[in-house]
């Protein structure tokens, strides 16, 4: 009987995800939003509590995180990650200060302690590459001059995650200072070695999984990724980072073909990952943190706009483009959920953090694509023209 129950629940959940995806497409919003909401409905305290399929969903969600990070790594070559590092480093630093710091301070002010504050800093810091890439595409901004600036901020954030996540994992595991520093050291060393090897010897690594048979390619990349992620996990480095590094190490045409064969599996498991995170959030715990989430979202959306504005100004973009870059960067998404997921799975006892993260991501991911359109509106452009005219008039006054 248990078998039938499992199948019925699983089928219903996946079908609900399909409806969520189609509905999101029709509304023109990020599917992450509706996956999270579906998770709230199916989760503990939700109206459609799922029990039998929970085991499968948990494992799929773990694979989903790995595949999300693997695909992110496959999208970038090591050269792309390191190539614009020097040029984009100041923008990355502005980004980190303006967006991680508010989360950190909020965490401390709420009395959640240092570790939870570091986690909240990560949640408010990282923009959603997935949502933003789609917004740039939908708004026809790929040819715009500020777009490379926006993308380079995203690249730097992803690279920073390779160091931030192991740090968070070390802090969350609550190890003694020495052991924590050791696992952090291993993580940093692994990241640096992989980046170095990937820039010099990417062909050798790609050869390891090179095959013309798509099925064999799928199995080799998936197997290698889960294996490396598991090893990383056992070294107290995050599994997600293990998967990210595999993605960076594989490059060239193999990377493109691997991304093609893996993307359906990623779509399924990543959807289940967002769902599973929503499921782990107790619906009743959201209203008490809603005001905090709104305040934090308002503050860090403003700091993100400022980040994009300043980064684009550094790149020599004119006023309108600076605002476009700023408003585009607002959405937070997958990484914030990954970070909150690590907290949820740890022994850290801050029950408000996960509901806060859920509400926070929902707010920014819904508003992000809407705000990104503001600089294109006639209202905004006419205000901008007036502002420039007034400034010119002021300059002419004695």
């Amino acid at each position: 009987m248990h078998g039938a129950e499992l199948l019925i629940e699983l089928g219903a959940v996946i079908f609900a995800l399909a409806l969520a995806r189609r509905f999101a497409g029709r509304l023109g919003i990020s599917p992450i939003t509706l996956y999270l909401l579906a998770g709230l409905a199916f989760g503990r305290g939700g109206p459609l509590e799922v029990e039998a399929a929970e085991g499968f969903i948990t494992v799929s969600a773990e694979i989903g995180v790995m595949l999300l990070l693997l695909m992110l790594g496959l999208e970038y070559s090591a050269d792309e990650l390191l190539g614009n590092l020097r040029a984009a480093a100041p923008a990355g630093a502005i980004d980190a200060v303006l967006n991680a710091l508010p989360g950190f301070i909020f965490g401390l002010m709420l009395g959640w302690g240092l570790v939870a504050a570091v986690a909240l800093a990560g949640i408010t810091w990282i923009s959603s590459s997935g949502v933003i890439a789609r917004v740039l595409n939908d708004l026809g901004r790929l040819g715009n001059r500020e777009t490379p600036t926006v993308l380079s901020v995203l690249v730097i954030e992803d690279l920073a995650m390779a160091f931030y996540l192991p740090l968070l994992v070390a802090l969350l595991s609550g190890q003694a200072l020495g052991a924590g520093a050791l696992s952090l050291g291993i993580a940093v060393l692994a990241v640096v070695v992989v980046l170095y090897v990937a820039t010099r010897r990417s062909r050798a690594i790609s050869k390891l999984v090179q095959t013309d048979d798509p099925e064999a390619l799928l199995l080799s990349v998936l197997g290698l990724t889960i294996l490396v992620a598991g090893l990383a996990q056992s070294l107290q480095v995050s599994a997600a980072i293990g998967a990210f590094l595999v993605g960076i190490a594989i490059s060239g045409s193999v990377a493109h073909r691997a991304a093609a064969v893996l993307s359906p599996l990623r779509d399924l498991t990543a959807a289940i990952f967002f769902l599973s995170f929503g499921m782990a959030t107790d619906l009743k715990k959201i209203p008490p943190v809603l005001l905090i989430a709104l305040a934090l979202a308002a503050l860090t959306m403003a700091t993100k706009v400022l980040t994009g504005y300043l980064a684009a100004r550094r790149a020599g973009i004119a006023s309108a483009g600076r605002w476009r870059a700023g408003f585009t960067l607002v959405a937070r998404g997958e990484f914030s959920i990954v970070i909150a997921g690590l907290v949820a799975a740890s022994a850290l006892d801050v029950p408000q953090l996960v509901p806060l993260a859920t509400a926070y991501v929902l707010i920014t991911v819904i508003l992000g694509p809407v705000l990104a359109r503001i600089p294109d509106t006639r209202w905004f452009r006419s205000r901008l023209v007036n502002a420039v005219r007034n400034r010119n008039l002021d300059a002419r006054l004695p």
Partner: protein, 76 residues
């Protein structure tokens, strides 16, 4: 005078090639990783933005390139 074509990497997406025309408009192509390409033309008031980005299929791009590069029949 040589024309300067600017090549700008778009991490995770592809590459943008563009050049500034004598009339002050930016014209170019976004070449995506997955092989798709878009013809882009900058806006007159704001050269940072684009008024058009037209997806081109491979044969369409070839046809356009041919018109641009060759002495097409001008009398017709």
């Amino acid at each position: 005078m040589t024309i300067r074509v600017e090549r700008t990497p778009l991490p995770g997406i592809g590459v943008r090639y563009d050049l500034m025309t004598e009339s002050g408009r930016r014209v170019g192509l976004v070449m995506r990783r997955d092989g798709k390409r878009e013809l882009i033309v900058s806006s007159r008031d704001d050269p940072d933005t684009c008024v058009a980005s037209v997806p081109l299929a491979e044969d369409e791009a070839h046809a356009l390139a041919e018109i641009l590069s060759s002495e097409y029949d001008r009398s017709a």
